[in-house]
Assembly symmetry: C2
Homo-oligomer: 454 residues x 2
């Protein structure tokens, strides 16, 4: 018989991996709570009418579609079936699909439940999403997103809080990061100033490549995209903008003076920097004009977080979108949010070995099983120890000592208790520290004190 397997691009998570993932999720959750964000969950399956057309043509192809149960052919004529056209077929044979991200289901949630929700609504959501991407190293078909969003508030205080949240999460992880920030209005302003407003996407895509291909090639690319030499010349100070955030803002104020939208963007940035200056961030916060992610939907702030010590793409991103729910018929609801990339954070923590020992600990104490008499003696004692909140196992069978100790070892159990005939008589426990090998004879109460006072 063939060894069973799982679909490509998906993963099993072992106890150790789960402990690490729970450490990540719990840390993020804790920080969201500290700022008043509340959790929601949405179903794995959404109606395809909710999902289709929200992620571009490419996204539609990457949706996992669920075959209608019962007769999947009922809505299809023989001619339609004979066409063998997968897209047309799916449109009539599949009503449901797996969620592709957490943003669209959240927008759907907000519209569907708008009468039950008190705005501003600060929600977080930690759930898996599915994409039929070609699997490759570090890219999965099932992965978790950890989104936090505020909807129904235009206040830039929300942006300030989200920066604090990102800062605090990575500080707790002990991951050194740079939080990069930009503003879509500034990008629009730049395009306006150089008279190429309709080329905003081309411009930002080119600017985004500065780090990778250098100024010369960025200019060539702009030229290839049809930008006039005059426009490219005007762009140079923007592309090469340097100095600290305040210096950059000073330059932008001059360059963008004639663009109302651009100046609005500068004002928003200034507001945020002013507020952030009121306290100390552990992370670097950097205005980065080459940051141009999510241009299809972001309308204000754009965020991205990079690890300073590990070469990996962005580990968190987000921004403000002024019309999240418009596509579902509810306009005028602004939102701003971030999404932590759990898988990449997992990789960074692994690479830097930053998991706290405690977070990986499961069982604290294992009793060796010497046989039936000892078992009967130990069961009430174990009960007492567990009542004290100590995670305790009794090895279930009187196997060879070596096997039992091996079990404790591979499960990383730090203490093993030995209670044989002598210990039973004295009503004591022989407690062995698995790390140092040290042994001590203690009473049940002493043992409980040892664990609960540590």
């Amino acid at each position: 018989m063939q060894k069973p397997s799982i679909p490509k691009g998906t993963r099993d998570f072992s106890p150790l991996e789960m402990a690490k993932r729970n450490y990540i999720f719990n840390t993020i959750r804790e920080v969201y709570h500290l700022y008043g964000y509340q959790q929601i969950e949405t179903p794995a399956m959404e109606n395809l009418s909710t999902l289709m057309g929200k992620y571009g043509e490419e996204g539609d192809k990457l949706l996992f579609k669920i075959l209608n149960s019962g007769d999947c052919f009922s809505a299809l004529s023989n001619e339609e079936i004979a066409e063998r056209n997968p897209v047309k077929f799916a449109a009539k044979a599949c009503e449901k699909g797996l969620r592709y991200d957490l943003t669209v289901p959240f927008a759907r949630y907000v519209v569907q439940h708008r009468n039950e929700i008190t705005f501003p609504f600060k929600r977080y959501q930690i759930q898996p999403v599915w994409r039929a991407d070609r699997p490759q190293k570090g890219r999965y078909r099932e992965f978790y997103q950890c989104d936090g969003d505020v909807v129904g508030s235009d206040s830039l205080l929300n942006e300030v809080e989200l920066i604090q949240i990102m800062n605090e999460v990575f500080h707790k992880f002990d991951i050194r990061v740079c939080i990069k920030m930009n503003n879509r209005k500034i990008l629009t302003g730049i395009a306006e100033i150089i008279g190429e407003a309709e080329k905003i996407v081309d411009i930002t895509v080119a600017i985004d490549k500065l780090d990778k291909i250098g100024l010369e090639n960025v200019n060539t690319e702009l030229r290839n995209k049809g930008l006039a030499e005059e426009a490219i010349a005007k762009l140079q100070p923007i592309i090469l903008l340097s100095g600290d955030n305040r210096e950059k803002i000073a330059v932008l104020k001059e360059v963008l003076a004639a663009s109302e939208t651009g100046m609005k963007g500068v004002e928003e940035l200034e507001f945020i920097f002013d507020r952030i200056d009121l306290f100390t961030l552990q992370s670097t916060l950097e205005l980065d004009l080459t940051l141009a992610r999510g241009l299809n939907y972001y309308t204000g702030a754009i965020f991205e977080v990079k690890s300073l010590d590990v070469q990996i793409g962005s580990i968190t991103g987000g921004g403000r979108y002024d019309n999240l729910t418009g596509v579902f018929g509810l306009s005028g609801v602004s939102g701003v949010g971030i999404s932590f990339g759990a898988d990449r954070i997992f990789d960074v923590l692994n690479q830097l070995e930053l998991y706290p020992t405690d977070s990986l600990l499961t069982t604290q104490l294992m009793f060796v099983n010497f046989g039936e008499a000892e078992e009967i003696h130990l069961l009430p004692i174990l009960n007492q120890i567990r009542q004290a909140g100590i995670r305790t196992e009794l090895y279930p069978e009187a196997n060879k000592m070596k096997k039992q100790m091996g079990y404790a070892d591979t499960k990383n159990i730090p203490y093993v208790a030995l209670v044989g005939e002598n210990e039973m008589k004295e009503n004591k426990i022989n407690l062995k520290n698995m790390l140092t090998g040290e042994q001590q004879l203690v009473s049940v109460t002493e043992l409980i004190d040892l664990f609960t006072q540590a």
Copy 2:
């Protein structure tokens, strides 16, 4: 535009519902940890070859199948397509399906990772499962299971521990329950004794109906199933068995004396009762011969938990299965496990209003927003309060007081802080208890003390 909706049988979970569900999951998780169970997760999608044929013919129909991405027709001839046969079509157009329970994916996990696992393997798993059942009240197409299993150990200590776990979980919930127990070997023994070994399923199904249809009808049903009068007569003392667990065992020992399998079952039961008697259970533990769930796979102990105060089906169930992984080519691995029904537990806790207030609390303190000057004054203070672990919000906009207080109210925030011009001058916080209406003027340090010492 039509208001968006979700697929029938699925649910969104609001912040309040999530708080309740997290209380349930965290309580169960905590108890599993106390007994050394470790968490794993498996992908939502499994290969259909893993799932098909494991849940009977009916189960196969209830699997949600995922249409192959790319060309779903590639493995099908024109003739096959023209047949319009959904089952045959799905067999070639769908490679993956959504998991239907947590047991089969766990068995697959054990076989796939057998070389990395240290046995006995105590794992728990809390994840959603999907079934294309006809949706109806209390039955969903997406719902969570909370399974705990030990594999690779024949020791009945595992059964004892699982009873302790069930007892402790419901004790923590403050739900009064009866834990019912039976043993498949006893049922087999009974069938042997009355000479109708091959009718075991018919017999147990009939016995299971005693509560609902009464003895008379049970006997009629047995007769209709072809049981001889003599066999039915022999069954009477078994069906009507009464008294406490020890009295029942005494009767069974006599009746089953001639059946080796039956006596083995009695011995197992006695072992478990002997161990459980070593400590006090808050729940009732009852030997119930009419308990006959999972006969297709259980080979030893069978468990079921019923709420004593709410009329609802079983809220937890489980048992021992001697050949969990055989279907995936690994034989000789015995397992025993339980599954908590999160949705029904949710309903019971709701009906009895048993959620601890703390578990439903999100934000502890909200600052009213009086405008820009106050905002700037408050931001560093908020930072300090959050550093102390207090979940705090600043309302993001200087809206009308009534709106801000309404927000705090619907979000169930117990304390609201007012810092206007006067409080700013004095560097104080006017703290209002939303329940009593009481107000007090405190310093930041005093406020932190108030919350952290409570």
